[in-house]
Every structure is written in C-alpha cells, then in structure tokens.
C-alpha cells in the first residue's frame, strides 16, 4: 500500500504540481546529457575543421570549414614517434590485445563463477572473497610485480604480455559478475542434471552456458571497454611499435612537430574511441538488461 501511495514525479497524473516536477526532472536530465555530450561534439567538429579555422575561432568555436581529409591522415599517414603510418598499426595492436584478453578473461570468469556458485567446496566462499578483493586493487599497486613477472616470462614489451596482464587483472570482475549471476540459477537444475547423468562440463555447456548470454554480454562489454581504454599498463609495459592505441595517442600529441594538428589528433582520438563506443551503442541495451535482470524465472 505504502508503495502505491508514494509520490511519483513521473506518474501519469496531470495536476500542475506534477507537471512542474516532471519538467524539472526532464530539464535536469537534458542538462546533464548535454554536459556529457559536449566534449564529444567538440572533438567531432574539430576533426573536420582546418587548422586556420581552429586557431582563429578557437577549439570550442563554431566551425567555418569542412574537410574529410584529416581522418585518412590520422588513420594511415600521420607520423607518430618517427614512423609515419598513422595510428592504424596501434589500432591493430589494441585489437590484438583486447580481443583475446576479453575472450580469455570472460571464459575463465564464467568457469570460476560456475564453480564458486554451483560446486562449492570448503573454503570456496573465502576464495571468492579474496578474488573480489582484486576489484578494489588499484593498478599502480601491481605495476612492480607485473614488471618482474613479465621479465621472468620474457614478455616485456609484447602484446602477449599485455594480454596476460589484462586477463589476470580482469578475473576479479569477470568472476564476480558471473558468480553473482549464476547463484540465481536454481540449484535444483544442477541436481536434476547430475541425476540425469551429466558431469561438470556437460552441465556447464548444456545448462549453464545457454542461460548465460545476458551476463556474458555484460562481461564482454565491460572487459573490452576497460582493456581497450586502459592506459597505465599500456604506457608502462609497451613502447615503440608495440604500443596499444591509448599509449600511441600520447606519443602522437607529444609528436615532433611543434604545431599541434588538432584536426588530425581529434580524428585519431575518435578512431581510438570508436570500438568501445560502437560496442556500447549496439550492446548497451543488453548491458543494462543484463545488469538489472535477476537472472531467470
């Protein structure tokens, strides 16, 4: 009852009082949306303006010129740290890093979550507690250990090294996500399958995985976005032609020429930001659904 009587500013009623509240809510939402979108708009506009226009009207000024030529330059011609092949090689470095790291960390996270929710053993809760501790561990803290480990494994300044780092660093999140999703799968399903003669992997493949798309989408989006955008490890553990795009962007803006090519740099930034943005645009719906959904029923 109390629930039903609660004041709902977005409720359907039409009194002036409510209209005003509604106006306020939407007004605020619009304001914040603009506030967050403005930088993006500025960068997009700048990627099409010529340099004189930018220096005349300023970075935030209204454009008076338009050209598509800065995008191809950013992609394949611009000079970064001595080589003049644009940011394409670094883009592909990022792909070669983010895709395997996302897949591996998600896969291991799913199996971890499955074990920690459906095949508990003495101490598994404690183990889970320790694993989730990793969620709160700042990246700076593990820089030194990773440097040592990469040295041992002879993976310093390689994409494989970064993949390894991101897999391990991401496990806390992927395990947490999957475990918390899988605890909502009724235990009876697992018991029924065990009586039906299915083993650990068969139950995972045939029963748990088919129920997992919502959480796997969440995990993949989360991991990919974070790994792609990650900067600290990228800068510290890679250099030269091995850099992922986030690290390369810095080299680009600190480039040899004294004049900043804001238009090309803007295009490069947008190219670097495109994959996570696209993934969010296409998968965002599922992301939100997966996060809010109480598994099944």
């Amino acid at each position: 009852m109390a629930e039903a009587l609660r004041y709902d500013p977005l409720g359907p009623s039409g009194t002036w009082h409510r209209q005003r509240a509604r106006l306020l809510v939407y007004g605020l939402l619009t304001l914040f949306a603009l506030y967050y979108l403005l930088p993006l708009v500025v960068v997009i506009l700048n990627s099409f303006r010529d340099l004189p226009d930018i220096s005349r009207a300023g970075l935030i000024g209204l454009p008076s010129s338009f050209s598509l030529s800065y995008w191809p330059i950013a992609w394949s011609k611009f000079c970064v740290g001595g080589t003049c092949a644009g940011i394409a090689p670094f883009f592909f470095n990022s792909v070669a890093m983010a895709v395997p790291a996302t897949i591996i960390s998600t896969a291991i996270g799913a199996v971890n979550g499955y074990v920690l929710s459906k095949w508990r053993f003495p101490g598994s809760e404690l183990l889970f507690g320790f694993m989730t501790l990793g969620v709160f561990m700042p990246g700076q803290m593990v820089l030194l250990p990773w440097a040592v480990v990469l040295g041992w494994l002879k993976l310093t300044n390689t994409t494989a090294g970064l993949v390894l780092i991101h897999c391990v660093q991401g496990l806390s999140f992927t395990t947490l996500f999957c475990r918390n999703y899988y605890v909502n799968i009724p235990d009876d399903l697992i018991k029924a399958a065990r009586i039906d003669g299915a083993g650990f992997w068969r139950i995972f493949r045939k029963i748990v995985l088919p129920l997992s798309p919502p959480i796997l989408i969440v995990t993949v989006i989360w991991q990919f976005t974070n790994i792609w955008n990650e900067f600290l490890f990228a800068v510290i553990f890679s250099s030269g032609t091995h850099q992922p795009i986030t690290a390369a962007l810095i080299a680009l803006s600190a480039g040899g020429t004294s004049v900043h090519q804001y238009n090309v740099e803007s295009a490069a930034v947008l190219i670097a930001a495109a994959p996570p943005l696209l993934i969010y645009l296409f998968g965002g719906r599922y992301f939100l659904r997966g996060l809010t959904q109480g598994a099944l029923k």
Partner: protein
C-alpha cells in the same frame, strides 16, 4: 528383496543434527510417503537417497546394493523436484531426452522412450515448447516425464504437487496414483500434506525433528498413531486431546475427564484394555478424532457398542457444506466435534455427544506415546 534400505542413517550440517537414526525398509513396488512438518528433514533424506547430499553415518542400499559412495547418476534413480527443475533453455523434448543423451542411449531408443512417455502423460503436443510456455500442470507432467523415461529402480518425488493450485493438485494426485498402479514402481514421495500422504501411500513414514515417528500403512497411522505428534499431524481438523486419569468404574477400567462444569465424566474403556494401561491414578491423554465425537442418537448404539455419552455446550459452529464442525467445551478444553449437516447444533446449545471409545486413543501424559 527390499528396493530401498536405510540403516541408522544420520545427517548433520555442521553442528546441527538434521536426521537421527533413520531406519526404513521399502519393498519393491511400494509407494512410501515421507510426511512431516516443514524443516523436519524430509528433503534432506530424499537428497541423501539420491546421492545429492553426503551421508554423515549409516547406510543406504538401493536394490540390495550399498550406494553410500555411488554418485547420483549411477544409483538407478529418477527424481522429480518441487520446483520441477526443468531446463529452461531446452524444449520439452530436450528436457525429457537429456538424461538419455548424457548416457549415450542410441537415438532410436530415445525416440521410442520419448514417444512412450509422451503418450503416457499426454504431452505429445507440447514436445517442441519451452518450459516457460507451459502451465503449472503441464510443467508438472513434463517433470514426471523426465523421471519416467528412465525406468529406474527407484522414483523419488520431493513435494511435486505443492506448486499447483488446489484443484489441479487433487487431479494430479489421482493421476500419480493411477500411474503408480499401472507401473508399480518403487517410489519414495515427500510431502507435508497429510491428505496427500493418506491418499497416495502404501506406507507412510511420519517424520518429526529428524526422526521417523511411525512407519506404517495409512489406516494404522490414522487409527493407531504411535504418539501424540503423529496423532495431531495426521487428520484435519486434527485429533482432540483431553487430559484424563485412569480410574475404575464399578470395577471395570475407565478414564475420567473434567466435565463441562463440575463433576468429572467417567468414560468406560473397551475391554480387553491394553496391558500397558497401568494403575489407577495414572495421568493420560485421551485422543479423539472429531468424526468420533458427534451428536448422540440411539441408533448409533446398534453398531457401536463402546459408545460413551457426555454433555457439552457448543461455542462455535463451522459449516463446511457436507458436514458441520462445532467447537464444544469439555472442562477446560475446547474440542472439535463433527456433525451431519442436518443434525448441526446451534451456538449455546447443550448438546449430548456420543464418543466412540473403540476409536479413541490413549497417550501417556509424560512420554506422549500411545498406550
């Protein structure tokens, strides 16, 4: 040979004793119902039989084979869960054949078994649907189908009907009974519904606080409950308990209960009395089911030689349609009596009640065990 034998079975979760000293012997083709209040350990016991819970101590044997350390899939059992536990992403067909797939049964045999079960349960039309597209009763059938397709040595049911509405529950109950009569498969069935237990069971095991209180055929459990717990649990409305004392009435054994107001009412006991009745003055509890306490009518005497009569004021009247239940006052106690609808009393009436002493039970006041 016994289909299922439980010997001195115990189960503890940490320091909590959930099952203590369970001994049961289930014969082939029997339908044994485990019944008891919530939390008495029924599901735990069933899960142990299925191999889903470990055994703390004791032995479980299925078809003569000790299975304590045998994994569930090799115990030759099938189980129906309270939640049905249908695999949500598979079709009905997939649900029913999943077990056979797992065991590598050839496709041809699978199809034949599926067809047989689908026909038996009349779910042929549902085979391509997902569980989410089924009604409660249909899900129930599919869950049964998944168990039946296996042809195991032992069927286990954990409250399979408790998620259905009242009407469907009665229908499915009948259906399960028919099915058992047809297939005669050894079954252990868990429920907390005593009506379900009475109607389905060939033998009932009444559980309470982790112990089997009584294991007997339904009539026996109902008529000669082993103790006051069983007596109170089985039957609805439940048995009336009235404190009493063993006395002698003109030299013959009797009990005395407090009267409506003032003098005690002496009720003669049918002879021969049990040896364990004990001496005069012993404190006992008289247990009378409502249907054995009704309006006195001379004609009742003809086939009930041990009728005792007593007077009591009527306090509440509850018509149920077919019959009328009335709360009457007996000394300090309120007891429930059953009346034919056309012989229903009115509130305030002092009604003369006939109590069938042949059907009454006596319990020890201390141990609560049947005398």
């Amino acid at each position: 040979m016994a289909s299922l034998t439980l010997r001195d079975l115990n189960k503890t979760f940490g320091s909590v004793e959930v099952l203590r000293g369970i001994n049961l012997e289930v014969d082939a083709g029997e339908f044994v119902v485990l019944v008891g209040p919530s939390g008495c350990g029924k599901s735990t016991l069933l899960a142990m039989i299925a191999g889903l819970e470990s055994v703390t101590s004791g032995e479980i044997a299925i078809a003569g084979r000790l299975v304590n350390n045998v994994p569930p899939k090799d115990r030759d059992i099938a189980m129906v869960f309270q939640s049905y536990a249908l695999y949500p992403t598979m079709t009905v067909r997939g649900n029913i054949t999943f077990g056979m797939e797992s065991r590598g049964v050839p496709k041809k045999e699978q199809a034949a078994a599926l067809a047989r079960v689908a026909a038996l349960l009349q779910i042929e039309k549902l085979l391509n649907r997902k569980p989410g597209q089924l009604s409660g009763g249909q899900r129930q059938r599919v869950a049964m189908g998944r168990a039946l397709v296996r042809d195991p040595a032992l069927f286990l049911f954990d409250e399979p009907l408790s998620n259905l509405d009242a009407k469907l529950r009665v229908e499915m109950r009948t259906e399960i009974k028919k099915l058992h009569q047809r297939l005669a498969k050894t079954t252990v069935y868990v429920t907390h519904d005593q009506v379900e237990a009475m109607t389905l069971a060939s033998r009932i095991a009444v559980m309470h606080q982790g112990r089997v209180q009584q294991f007997a055929v339904p009539r026996m459990v109902y008529d000669r409950p082993a103790n006051m717990f069983v007596a109170g649990f089985m039957g609805s409305p439940s048995m009336n308990f009235v404190p009493a004392e063993v006395v002698a009435d003109e030299g013959r054994p009797a009990i005395a209960i407090a009267g409506a107001n003032g003098p005690a009412v002496v009720l003669p006991l049918p002879e021969p009395t049990p040896n364990s009745l004990g001496d005069r003055g012993r404190r006992v509890v008289l247990g009378v089911r409502p249907e054995h306490l009704t309006r006195y009518d001379r004609r009742l005497r003809e086939d009930k030689p041990h009728l005792a009569t007593l007077e009591a004021p009527v306090e509440v009247v509850e018509p149920t349609g077919a019959e009328t239940m009335a709360v009457v006052r007996l000394g300090e106690r309120e007891v429930i009596a059953r009346f034919e609808a056309d012989a229903a009393p009115v509130v305030g009436e002092r009604v003369t009640l006939a109590l069938d002493m042949a059907r009454a039970c006596l319990f020890d006041a201390e141990t609560e065990a049947l005398i």
